[in-house]
Assembly symmetry: C2
């Protein structure tokens, strides 16, 4: 009999990561495809399905379940992608139905932050903790809460959105419609924007100079002791410590795992962040909350998708026996 | 054979509520004792124990477990009261051991906000919801999270402290040691203090007038269309909507139940609060989150203590069978 495997699909704006693992957790195959957005969702998923079929054939394995991570907003119950920012053509697209029809196995969908959080919890920096808050700081700021190995979904399956907690009442208007969200200050885009605004106001930089500024160049400038960049960075840390600190005060997780592009700053981010959070969180022994960098990089999503599939298999067995 | 019952003990700064219920949930006896603080914890608990013995004798019932709610800080694992503000003599007092020695049944301790939240979840305004955030606005602001019928404790058993989330960075110093906590603006004490400060700055009120101001008198003045009181109240609502809104964005509970003395303002509080929260929470369908007044009043704590006892009985059975 063929060895049973689960498949993980992590759909991103530029790449799609695929992987197969045995039920014991052994990785037997992995692939990456470009997200050729202009092909549209049907043909992209056709390519995904064909790749999985090839991987199954090559490894002589039998598929038992599929997990999918996809950028939000999504409808988990109905298995739909609801026009994610990076995939604007995927309007109410029946992601789960399309895949399920092809493979006839249980197929579970969750959003990319939740999938990445699950990945870090079971394979990465979150291993061994009971409850975990995951925060991803990249273009925007996403988040997820894992309680004893399960995603805490909550109403609308949208819990954990630390990026849209208000840290500066009456602050800048966020794309989400409210004012002063953490994302308006500390996301990659906002860090770059604040640096541009400060430089534009203070001296004669050209538009070209300003256009080149990203969160990454701000981090590089901090490393070179640039004063303006340091001020922007200090403010970033300050408000991250309010938002993440508030989440710790509320949820009291054993670990906060920080991923996303901005987390690549490493200890330049984490050391002052731990210090500021220590001042903001007073109701619990903060030394018992580990604040760590995510360890799986771009692998977290597909790892989490595999866990989603594995949890679907487990659920199936519980319902049968 | 005598009918089996559980006992609930709710220890407060001024009163102690006791109740017995059958395992089926029928209330068979209840009492209230004054918390005669000057007697010290040993003699107070002796009175509590004797009252429970009398209630058991009067009803001809047999005790199977005890739940205790006590103001924090407490040590749940070791069953200690750690000098609560209202009970300053209870320094590392072995509450669970003292009661357990007397009755020889499983005895569970939790803090008063967690107990009150459990009470509202199973007997009160929180019935029928999956996950619930409980917020109590009285002298201070406490909170608790109930997930599928269980208290979410987290690190240090201190999750849910919405009163100590920061809603105004660099704001007023809180007793907890950080700045700009929700409690520094919206607790009963803070509402009264802000009213006093505003009036003292604006006109010739006497010290006596100012000393009479409480959160309750502010609410009464709002009802009488007092402009200053309305301004204080609006600001209270604004920051409650930031703190509670942030908690909703993070936890996405099906219900927020608001108790404590300030919640007695009823719709004067809840109506504008729902409106402001609606503006602040954008990542989930806020119309699916019920924001309601607690319905048990001072009974919530003892109801929750009974649930703690009932959960201890259930756990015992699970371990045996």
């Amino acid at each position: 009999m063929n060895k049973q495997v689960v498949a993980g699909i992590d759909i991103g704006g530029t790449k799609i990561a695929l992987a197969l693992e045995t039920l014991a957790g052994e990785r037997v195959a992995a692939r990456r495809l470009p997200t050729t957005v202009e092909l549209g969702p049907e043909r992209i998923l056709e390519n995904v399905a064909r790749s999985i079929e090839e991987m199954l054939a090559e490894t002589g394995t039998k598929l038992t379940a599929i997990g999918i991570g996809c950028p939000g907003p999504i409808d988990i119950e109905r298995g739909l992608a609801l026009s994610p920012t990076n995939l604007p053509e995927w309007i109410d697209f029946p992601l789960v139905e399309t895949i399920k029809k092809r493979f006839c196995v249980p197929t579970v969908l969750d959003n990319d932050a939740n999938a990445a959080a699950l990945g870090e919890y079971f394979y990465g920096a979150g291993r061994g903790f009971r409850d975990m808050l995951y925060v991803t700081i990249s273009t925007g700021i996403g988040g997820a809460i894992i309680c004893e190995g399960n995603i805490h979904h909550g109403v609308g399956a949208s819990a954990g959105e630390v990026g849209h907690t208000i840290v500066k009442p009456d602050g800048r208007l966020c794309l989400c419609g409210t004012k002063g969200c953490l994302e308006t200050i500390a996301s990659g885009l906002s860090i770059a924007r604040r640096m541009r605004e400060t430089l534009a106001a203070s001296n004669g930089k050209t538009t070209e100079d300003l256009d080149r500024i990203t969160a990454e160049t701000v981090v590089e400038a901090v490393k070179k002791a640039d004063e303006t960049a340091q001020k922007i960075w200090d403010e970033t840390i300050k408000f991250l410590a309010v938002g993440i600190g508030n989440a710790i005060t509320l949820i009291a997780p054993e670990a906060v795992i920080i991923g996303g592009g901005v987390s690549e700053a490493g200890e330049l981010l984490l050391k002052p962040l731990r210090c500021e959070i220590g001042k903001n969180v007073t109701m619990l022994p903060i030394e018992k909350v580990e604040i760590l960098k995510a360890s799986l990089g771009s692998e977290s999503g597909v790892c989490g998708a595999l866990i989603l599939a594995r949890q679907a298999v487990k659920k199936m067995h519980e319902n049968v026996y």
